[in-house]
Amino acid sequence: MAIDLRGKRAHADTAFRWLAFASAAIVLLVLALIALTMAGRAVPVLDRMGLEFFTSRRWSPADGRFGALPFLWGTLYTAAIAVALAVPVSLGVALFVTQVAPRWLRAPIVYLLDLLAVVPSVVFGLWGVMVLSQHFGLGRSFLTAGVILAIMITPIITSLAREVIETTPESEKEAALALGATRWEMIVGAVWPHSKAGLVGATMLGLGRAMGETIAAALVIGSSLGQVTLDAFAPGNSMPAVIANEWGEADELHKSALIALAVTLFVITIVVNMGARAIVERSKR
């Protein structure tokens, strides 16, 4: 009898194990499917344009010419502006929460960051296009997009920076203070060497987020064509913004070009994220 019961139970047990296994495997399945199905759809345009897709500045769907260089540039440039603005602020907040703030203040600050993280991208976009770009003289430009993206990636960089900074051994911080170090010297001498690598990872992760952010950028970046410039006040464009703005009127080849942009974006963000996560995870250990 006992053997029968155990047999039955073992059956259900194994079934549950496989169910859980399949659920976990879905992550890999989805990522693989994204790469495979979308790469297939991008082939027509790459067939036609070849490497020029990445090097040409001319994007004119009407003539079937697709050069994505301005969008690649815009994506990198706005993301760089966003990171340059967001990293000092995020670091400051992370240090404030972990090293300065009294215990009772920590939860409210974290809560504030949660709220900032949960404000939808499209709401920041709406605010950017109706308030920031009109009343602050920024217009729709690389800079406006960079500022909005900076606001949006600050919570994620801050929360990762906080995790990384918190792994600094208490004993080393106390040792620094015991030697007469001021708070800042303690941060430079004990916290920084421990968290350096992790903070680089957190920054890269913010970069990846900024590059993929679509809706806010689509609303405030200005949707220019062919703009490859360092002028931050010029109207620009980015890969996700082009996809969102042009999809509605796109014919087959145009859609293929937009999907090729998405594949490019996918590859870039995956690479950046893998690097960033590897660094963050290693430094947390």
């Binding site: 259900a12 047990d13 549950f16 194990r17 859980a20 296994f21 399949a22 659920s23 976990a24 495997a25 879905i26 992550v27 989805v30 990522l31 499917l33 994204i34 199905t37 979308m38 759809r41 602020v89 400051g92 907040v93 300065v100 939860a107 600050i109 504030l112 960051l113 949660d114 709220l115 900032l116 949960v118 404000v119 939808p120 991208s121 499209v122 709401v123 976009g125 709406l126 605010w127 109706m130 308030v131 001021t182 800042w184 993929g212 952010e213 679509t214 809706i215 609303l219 996700p240 996809i243 969102a244 999809w247 937009l258 998405a262 974006l265 996918f266 963000t269 995956i270 994220n273 995870e281």
Partner: protein
């Protein structure tokens, strides 16, 4: 004379080191102010421009249909609210069970295995995949065959939520003390039974909180809906049939409209959406803090 060396000699008040430390502390405080300002500015703009539109002739804005001609003034985000709830519920029904089961595998079965490590890592990487890529992916595998529907949007949002649910759930499973599991085994329970009746209930406040946060995030997403949900201005309560709409898609569409009436509706919709997501976030936080203090 050893006794004459005083504390003030050792730590002179005006030393540059102390001043520098104070300056840096102030800068950290300033950074905090720097994140409060945009949040406050956005919320202020929402209430300033959205509250009037949304609450003028309560509850019309939340129940009326969307005007077909966008320059016409008047209320109406009802269909978009229903659409958002529908799309998000569909996404939650897909992503929450899969995410929790996936996390169970990672922590309860595969702990330390190479496969679990790979999935854990790729799930973290997946949180960084841009939402617009998910949207196009769903367009390619679903919308091209079955047409616009709320469910297409659900699939896109589920792709975004899945790795977040896995990550937060696994973290909560880690907090469940091992003796609980061992006690259950000692009573003769199988592993599956232990997980379902002991481990998951013990971790449930944290898991629910994590799922609510993921849902709140997803509810505000626009990019995955652009290619999959289509457009509609009338109520469509069907998950699998016909084009639908959502608050986020309405905001995106109206934000660049040149008609004041459309812009007003965008602000009203934005206020509604932010209220929805904030309520979910608040609920999540309250739930989790109660668990911590208990």
């Amino acid at each position: 004379m050893i006794g004459t060396v005083t504390a003030t000699d050792l730590r002179p008040r005006r030393s540059w080191r102390r001043v520098k430390s104070s300056i840096m502390t102030c800068l950290m405080g300033a950074a905090l102010v720097a994140i409060v300002i945009p949040l406050a500015a956005v919320l202020w703009a929402l209430f300033d421009k959205g509250a009037g539109v949304a609450f003028r002739s309560f509850p019309d804005f939340f129940t009326a249909e969307i005007p077909v001609v966008s320059r016409r003034a008047g209320p109406g985000m009802g269909p978009a609210i229903v659409g958002t709830l529908l799309v998000t519920t569909g996404a939650a029904l897909l992503a929450v069970p899969l995410g929790i089961l996936g996390a169970v595998y990672l922590h309860e079965y595969g702990r330390g295995s190479r496969f679990a490590g790979l999935v854990r890592f790729m799930a973290m990487v997946m949180t960084g995949v841009p939402s617009i890529v998910m949207g196009l992916f769903v367009y390619v595998i679903w919308t091209m065959r079955f047409g616009y529907s709320a469910f297409g949007g659900s699939l896109g949002l589920a792709c975004l939520m899945l790795p977040i649910v896995i990550g937060s759930t696994e973290q909560m499973l880690r907090l469940v003390p091992n003796p609980l599991r061992e006690a259950s085994y000692a009573l003769g329970a199988s592993k599956a039974r232990t997980i379902l009746t002991i481990v998951l209930p013990a971790a449930s406040p944290g898991i629910v909180s994590g799922c609510l946060l993921a849902i709140a995030r997803a509810a505000g997403e626009t990019a995955p809906l652009l290619f999959t949900v289509g457009a509609a201005s009338a109520y469509n309560p069907h998950l699998f049939e016909e084009a639908n709409t959502a608050l986020s898609a309405q905001i995106f569409g109206n934000a660049t409209a040149s008609f004041v009436a459309a812009q007003d509706r965008a602000w009203g919709a934005a206020l509604t959406l932010v209220m929805l997501t904030f309520v979910a976030t608040l609920a999540a936080r309250l739930l989790f803090s109660r668990k911590r203090s208990a």
